[in-house]
């Protein structure tokens, strides 16, 4: 089946002046590569956005209170007092002490747990995980610090988001990079279509001259090129979409195997998949518009 039949192209307005586009032409494959790369870049950008949004939502109101004192009794007493004070503090929606075995588990890879290990003798700080209703701004941290100063003088208070600020910056940069890649790929699509249209114009200059002499208008001729560009971009778009989605699925499986909370938060939603599915349509639209403008510009220079 040729592409014209596949896409139901009408021959009335555009009387088959150009040979029907076929997969043997390079253009569908160029478009397929560009669309596949665009799909991967868009998928990555959306996943990064989701990861940043998810992490930000999780960490935005998060505060860690550390009771840093070497004396175990004092540490436990200050931790209990701090927990009680935090529970009563307005704006704190949740506060719980991180269990000792969880803390030891965090240190286990470095300090070990085999017989003879001295982990129990280490003055590990007591940790209280606090969740606030609103973002842990410097003012709110300062207020918490004032609240705890009297009951837990060894308390150190940190906003969780502050630790990950460089990570958020890196994620934002990567999102901009993905957007930049998509813009460059769009430019590559335009360049490829311009070259293809000009090449076709040269190859079919005589046919175009004949149609002009028979009373064909520039718009009629441009529609022929638009149709060819649209069919080629459609074929390439479908191939590129399939390849790009396959790459995203493989990458998603690799990242989900990490078991990281941030990787889980990066999962693409239905809206994201819809955006990705629309990329080939955008490619077709861009190709059709580029072909039209290129051809009309060239035809205006003809008699």
């Amino acid at each position: 089946m040729n592409a014209a039949a596949l896409f139901g192209g009408s021959r009335k307005a555009e009387p088959g002046l150009l040979p029907d586009p076929r997969l043997g032409n390079p253009m569908p494959w160029v478009i397929a590569i560009v669309i596949a790369l665009t799909v991967i870049a868009a998928g990555s950008g959306l996943a990064l956005r989701n990861a940043a949004t998810s992490a930000n939502a999780t960490l935005n109101g998060g505060v860690i209170v550390q009771i840093v004192t070497a004396a175990p009794a004092s540490r436990n007493q200050q931790a209990d007092a701090a927990l009680a004070a935090l529970t009563r503090t307005p704006g704190v929606i949740e506060a719980h002490r991180v269990a000792q075995d969880q803390l030891e588990g965090l240190l286990e890879p470095w300090l070990g747990t085999r017989p003879g290990d001295t982990i129990d003798d280490l003055p590990i700080p007591a940790l209280i995980d606090v969740r606030m209703a609103d973002a842990a701004t410097p003012d709110r941290i300062k207020a918490l610090r004032a609240t705890l100063a009297a009951v837990a003088p060894a308390a150190q208070i940190d906003a969780q988001a502050a630790w990950l600020t460089p990570v958020f910056r890196a994620l934002a940069t990567l999102q901009w990079l993905a957007a930049g890649l998509i813009a460059l790929l769009a430019l590559a699509t335009i360049a490829a279509v311009v070259l293809a249209a000009r090449n076709t114009l040269v190859n079919h200059r005589e046919t175009i001259a004949i149609v002009h002499l028979l009373g064909g208008t520039d718009s009629q001729i441009a529609r022929v090129f638009q149709r060819a560009a649209g069919i080629e971009a459609g074929i390439g778009g479908i191939i590129g979409l399939i390849a790009g989605v396959a790459a995203i699925v493989v990458l998603a499986q690799q990242f989900s195997a990490l078991g990281s909370g941030m990787a889980t938060g990066a999962a693409l939603g239905w809206g994201d998949w819809l955006v990705i599915a629309l990329i080939p349509l955008g490619g077709v639209g861009l190709s059709v518009l580029t072909a039209r403008l290129t051809v009309l510009s060239a035809l205006r220079r003809m008699v």
């Binding site: 009335k12 009387p15 088959g16 002046l17 046919t207 002009h212 028979l214 009373g215 064909g216 008699v303």
Partner: protein
Amino acid sequence: MAEPDAEIVQFDNVGLRYGTGKEALTDISFTLYPGRFYFLTGASGAGKTSLLRLLYLAQRPSRGLIRMFGTDAITLSRDRLPGFRRRLGVVFQDFRLVPHLSAFDNVALPLRVAGVAEREITRPVDEMLDWVGLADRRNARPATLSGGEQQRVAIARAVIARPDMLVADEPTGNVDPEMALKLLRLFESLNRLGTTVVVATHDVHLIRKVPDSLIMRLDKGRMSDPTGALRYPPRRTTPAADTGYADMPPVDSKAGSDGDGEPPLGFAPA
């Protein structure tokens, strides 16, 4: 035939120069009237094809004035050119068929360009192909057609849309005498329906077959008027005297009635 009341084409001191070379056409002035049959003669290189290119709006002159269908064709805007070109039928010397289209699609091209509905195209195009003897080559591409067959396709394409003016450059150069006569009858039939016909040819025998025709003659890029074709009112017949063709056999006025019947010009495309 009633005398025409308005010219269809008017050339006034037209000159044409390609690049920086000498003028291919110099001081060309003439008027063509609706419903007339004109022959354009002249030696090779006299400028016949250049003149025809101006007539079918493929070329703008270097100087002078051209009016077509009552409008200044020199200053005609690009947007209005297609409308004027659709009123013309052109038989190119080198046929200029679209190579990847079948004979049917080549003949149908002017109708499709004009926006005629597909259902109204098939019958007249098939009738025209049948009439020029190419019904069995309907789906053949130009590369598989002989020179004569390509010429017949080109002629069928030129007349299929019933143009106001038909311009033909050596239209019978590649066909046998019988087919040449048949094609000439097609032009005459079109002419009787009101189409102005301009045929460039070397073939004096062909000229004799059209008794009411008028002759314009080009010599080294300049126009001469051996039959009074350029006068108004133009002469009605083709006199042998003063044409340079005095030794030609007499015009056979019945030649046009032989053949396979009336050509298929009864359709009315939009």
